[in-house]
Symmetry: C2
Subunit: 113 residues, 2 copies
DNA sequence: GCACTATATTCCTTAAAAAGAATATATAAG
DNA sequence: CTTATATATTCTTTTTAAGGAATATAGTGC
């Protein structure tokens, strides 16, 4: 039950949903997400931690960067199914569509000074 | 987006999830839910309102009682899909299983004095 | 070693949700 | 019309989550 409600709570925040939708297109480091959402870096880290605990995203260190990507869903069946549903959901949401367009132009080398 | 996060938030509370799982077995009035969950009546009404706004449950007046039942999902696709998923999810959760057993013995006539 | 950068964590403040008590509405029965 | 019952609503308090600033950790390059 806790696994289920944790997944639901993780996805009840718009910024976290946006992160999931962006990660569907490419894995991103914290500073890319920060740039895309215009949020302070600590906020992004905290949102990512909540998503990670819910089994929705995973991370991989690459030197100084930490790349976040969608989880394979092996942690909980809820996360797996929700990630599946979110593949098509919200694609035509204007805010989401705008973000997806935006991140295609983002370049990590320009973001991280 | 708001529809989606509202549905998620509605299901991020354990009591509300319990209500959904009980309503899978029979439609219930407020005082039955109150008895099953051992919650004060205003809390139950408020939880039900949140579930209703999220498109997860609907209500029907029957004299003095208000019967709540699972929504048909026509309000939002998110509610419809989540209700579908929840059909099998959490069935083996001990707390849920206990509740389902409990409500089979509940009788409205004994509850509402 | 030192300086620099990306990310994480902590602490504090603010906003939002839940719990609780009291009251209001509405329907039924006498 | 009064009483009683089921549910809803309001208001207040408490808890929980989010935002923000500052700091800590951990790599990288010199």
């Amino acid at each position: 039950m806790k696994d289920f409600t944790a997944a639901m709570k993780a996805l009840s925040d718009q910024n976290r949903v946006k992160i999931i939708k962006m990660l569907q297109h490419k894995s991103m480091c914290v500073c890319e997400i920060k740039a895309a959402l215009n949020l302070p870096q600590p906020s992004v880290s905290k949102h990512l931690k909540i998503l990670e605990k819910a089994g929705l995203v995973s991370s991989q260190k690459d030197g100084l960067w930490v790349n976040y990507h969608l989880s394979d869903g092996s942690r909980t069946p809820y996360a797996a199914t929700l990630l599946g549903n979110l593949r098509h959901w919200l694609d035509d949401d204007p805010e989401i569509a705008g973000l997806v367009e935006k991140i295609s132009f983002l370049n990590r080398k320009d973001l991280c000074k």
